[in-house]
Symmetry: D2
Subunit: 408 residues, 4 copies
């Protein structure tokens, strides 16, 4: 790979990406464009601008954008249509944000004539894969620079030395090492590393930042109603809201009731296991609600097919293959299933849990006429069941007969 001339850097404004910024300038002598996105991580973006300017980035090379609506509408919601969970439990909060960042990096590269993009993910994790697969899919000629895999700043001491040497301001609380590593966006906050590295040890309370401890949550349950149209949440308690607003609201409900905590050991795509603490307050409520509305609006054929491909869909997102033909094919399948996933779910929120307690819809397939224990006025002829069972049993009888015949 020839040296990059102009690089678009995914820039948070924090110490680590500031070091990367400076390292790119010094190592490659290249022009740097910064991209700072508001994905709902809960941090001010203005300081990032100031810091970028301080580090010598030209104003026209500083991109700061609020992408929350796009994030929820085009990434989070499509994923939730699938009820996607990785390895049974993880709601993919980090995974789903990476493709959007890469997309904007590549687009900005094309706008600014940059030949490379750069990110601050390490060589051990999944995020490097997600950033880079997305970037290469969107622009096969782009260069991707991953400083953590290249440089020799392999310890905290070296990093701080590099920072001081290059006049990068170091916040007081960054002098010491953080006790764990954090990623956050509108969907979730993840924490991992350091104090969390032994999965036999309970996570300390201070790791949780996004939700109250269920023990400290209100002693009374709260009931809310979430309305869906074609698989996407569109209103809470009857009030229509934009995608990002809905997720923000659900996050607040979840935070308050201690919902969405997960202590998890997962398999990274790069081959090792890692332990993370995830907090996905609104997403956990949303998943429960979406399942609730599907219960009455999806038929079994659609639902079972969705269930059977979900693990693969989730794995694709986790592994960084958002911009792959197979993810798009599965999305087409999933979206097709959601045409009638319209209606309202009532949930009970209480001390760490969100449970569906009622659901209704004009699109409901639930037929009281058929299921009732009462007289059903001919909606269903119980005698049909005899034939249904006989023909389902036929092959089993033939198998049973073979077993007896061969024994005899």
């Amino acid at each position: 790979m020839s040296a990059p001339k102009k690089v678009v850097l995914a820039y948070s404004g924090g110490l680590d990406t500031s070091i990367i910024l400076k390292w790119l300038q010094t190592e490659y002598g290249c022009e740097v464009v910064t991209f700072t996105a508001d994905l709902g991580q809960g941090e001010e973006l203005d300081p990032a601008r100031k810091k970028a300017e301080l580090l010598g980035i030209k104003p026209e090379n500083i991109y700061i954008e609020d992408v929350r609506e796009e994030f929820v509408r085009d990434f989070v919601f499509p994923m939730f249509r699938a009820n996607a969970v990785y390895e049974g439990l993880y709601l993919l909060g980090t995974s789903i944000a990476r493709p959007l960042i890469s997309k904007r990096l590549v687009e900005i590269a094309e706008e600014t004539g940059a030949d490379a993009v750069a990110h601050g993910a390490t060589g051990k994790g999944n995020d490097q894969v997600r950033f880079e697969l997305a970037a290469y899919a969107l622009n096969p000629d782009i260069k991707v620079i991953a400083p953590w895999r290249e440089w020799d700043l392999s310890s905290r001491t070296k990093l701080l030395a590099f920072a001081e040497q290059n006049q990068i301001p170091i916040a007081k609380d960054k002098r010491g090492e953080a006790p764990f590593s954090v990623d956050a966006n509108l969907l979730h906050t993840s924490s991992e590393g350091k104090v969390l590295e032994d999965p036999a040890e309970m996570a300390p309370d201070y790791v949780y930042q996004r939700t109250v401890n269920p023990e400290d949550a209100p002693d009374e349950p709260e009931f809310i109603e979430v309305t869906f149209e074609q698989g996407d949440a569109v209103a809470i308690n009857g009030v229509a809201m934009s995608p990002a607003t809905i997720l923000t609201e659900l996050n607040e409900y979840g935070r308050k009731h201690g919902i969405g905590r997960l202590d998890f050991v997962e398999n990274r795509f790069v081959g090792m296991k890692s332990r993370g603490i995830y907090e996905t307050p609104g997403g956990t409520i949303l998943l429960e609600a979406h399942r609730g509305i599907e219960q009455i609006t999806l038929d079994s054929g659609a639902g079972h097919l969705k269930d059977s491909i979900m693990p693969r869909y989730a794995e694709l997102i986790y592994n960084g293959f958002w911009y792959s033909p197979e993810r798009e094919m599965l999305q087409a399948l999933i979206d097709k299933s959601q045409e009638h996933v319209t209606g309202t779910v009532k949930l009970k929120l209480y001390k760490g849990s969100a449970f569906t307690v009622a659901r209704w819809s004009d699109h409901s397939l639930y037929s009281e006429a058929h299921v009732t224990f009462e007289e059903d006025a001919g909606a269903y002829d119980q005698k049909d069941a005899a034939g249904f069972i006989q023909l389902n049993a036929l092959r089993l009888k033939l198998l049973g007969a073979r077993k007896r015949r061969l024994k005899g």
Copy 2:
């Protein structure tokens, strides 16, 4: 089908199966053998014996058996090795009990020279299918009698009249109609019908029989440790127990903390949707614990394969295909995966929830050496990730290049 001469009836001792017993005698003039199983449903079996005798069943034709250990060891535990849930949420508590009952019905038929078996399931539900598919698979020549699909006792009034006419004792509280229908065993209690038939209405509190309301559960969390060997739970808090004892204990923990409630609309195999309230206190804890131990003892290849076939496995059990080649094939696959699923999980139980908070095992695949944020002493070479990403990206680059080429 020619008339049966001798029938083995799945007999609970309750009013409905007593009516069936008498109806078999009067309708077919056949000899009846009763089979009453203790599956952990929490009812005394002695009254069933007395009632059978009262209805004229010969003592040698009365079979009363405690099958709880067999139930958990040979049915519940194998199913939990798969983390089986139907339609995302239901732990299959009713489904998994039916094959065992059918198996004993068929065995007793062979022991007693009976040519038929009979059950009390209705023509609208899944249980008729489960009973009959299992019976036919185990004995392709057996006759199965399903009185609810045959007789004209189509209303409560007619049933009671038949009972009175035949001197079947009617408990006072059975005169009126039950407000809903219940099935119970060691794994769960299900409630459905009547007051539950409108899925837009919240279930009344009195429906829940097996668990305390989370609001009434203890205000302090409780921590327990569950130990697994090759995928099956073998001890709680270090105390080794038999399968049924473990489930019984977990049920008590779950009951106390309000764990395992589910308000659910599901797709029946016979084609309609129905709404049920399930309480699976111990099973819910067990599922969480099993997932927890798998997190450190299963590698991703094994785990993802299991996840991908699980929906099909669950569907087979739900639909009544326990004794089918495909269920046995999937079981072989699942059991193969569990050889190293050995270790201990620590769970937090609190007001409706069971969460894994720690796990450890001699069989753990978790490698702190590889995952650590600290120096890893060469366990992992971050530069390998570059090649890994490049080759995973290659096809995406070729796709991206095609897209650009065709546009250009």
Copy 3:
């Protein structure tokens, strides 16, 4: 089910459906509308009109339609996009024609105010299921009449007697029983029953009607080129043709070279095995060609996903679930994959076989630059493979280390 007043009958003009026509009139006293479709079965339709008139059907109640283009365009081609084969070998020639017939039956019922449709499939086969599931899906209120399951005309003698009694003309060659049963359309001819019922006996030569015996095929191979656009064949040897014309042409190539014969024992949806002889001359060439063009235009992610869902897709069509949400969901996935399946395949046809021997496309993903044994000018860095392998191996190493540790 109340008696039908007006019935749309799938009418071939043959003896059996003529008997059904008359039986419907006499049994139910209902008005009959006939629908006769040209699906490419190779029979004149005019006699069907005359015969219907002879049997008293009013001219406005006689529907005769050439649906070959619709059949290939909307049913055959979408199915071939999936490379669908049932149980590894069967190209689904009968299965795919049934939904179209049912669709027209239901539409004609709605146009003519009929309340029922009727078909001539027996109670043992798959076709009854396919006809009826399609009809009920398209009009849940329609009645479906399946005379073979209702009447007592259970032997050839009784059928002929009924025909004579009702002045239904009987062709001389229909007096005796046919030695086997045939179904045909533009995609295939199937033969089953009677002389074919013992799968241990070779099918007699006279069963094959649609293809020459490979031994009698030309001694010289013939080469043809099939061009695809977005997954559908659009031209042969550079000549653009309509869907039905292409299949007709391919049939002629296949017939001449003895291509597409299959002697097969399959699992019917109704639970039994049956043996059939299938001849799918053009379809066999088309499948090979479609696979050939996908080889260079689909990437592995898309191709492997398609392969993995194909058996389920084929099973749905075989079982009669064309008009089901899950078939439509899978179709959405498949169609999404075909956007770039455009290009040309060259095939060698010779004595029973069709083999791809070359293929090219502007949409090709094949990169000689990458794969070449020669110098590749940096297209591919072989050192990347080392990292790729190391990270793919990581979990296997951890598994291997566990095995050694536990043994040690």
Copy 4:
């Protein structure tokens, strides 16, 4: 990776691996152990011994083994139980041989105290992945050396110069470059590269080495019978044979009749497409025969499940994951299905094709009593089909009703 001290080399005796042998000695100064296996590739092994001696390998370090029986029994046959084909058509002939070679390399390393193994696969192909994943799975501490990824002998000229410089004898016909690259074993011969690199060009006739051109095959068909026990072929024409003998015999039948040629563009695991010519004469017959016997001995549940997991199983083998938990899990599933796959298939071999024409078995599930067009003496009640269809249709009716309701 520290330098290896003693290396076990997969040694064919040919020029390339002889160069590798010498390069290992000179580059690393390490002791070399050679392993040469007779996998049925059709070459004498004695010359390999002599050449190894000539290159200075100590006699006790020269391993030459006939592994044909192990190859077919423990690798080929288990794979054929699955009817495994990669991307619809490729019988995996190269893929399945690699794990066995790696297994012996690792075992010999342990016997001889070697710390490394080496292979002659290039950095662009799948074989490097297969060799190395297998080696690492079996011994996580082994070093694997892949000279083609390391050295700078990047052109034919440099290789020959190295050979001359190191007194490696060069056969006359190896001076020029081979027009394509070949791999062979008892299951297949593959050819790729050079003259085959343009998939739009037909492969020249001289590429085919293992089978006669169908045009040159006998003008008369030949019929053979293959007998299976529990999924594995055990006899031809009634004569019992060992696994390798059976495959050898079938190869001869296939060669003679021009069976098993495949011109194929496939997706390599490393991300690119490549074109290969495969000849799998015996394997192609074996696959057809195995499908034939499964048709009457597997029920639909077992068969459809096998079909649905087959693509994943084949992909695992292709990608080199033979020694992975998921391959072993799938094998357990597949093997479970084969318990009754016992019986005999009759095949017609003729000018490039092998077709099943008859099959019989004591384990057959085919029931003429059920399927017959004649009177079936009550084996099957056609009226059962009505109920079967009604309940399968129920959800489709509810879907249809919804569609009408929402339109109305």
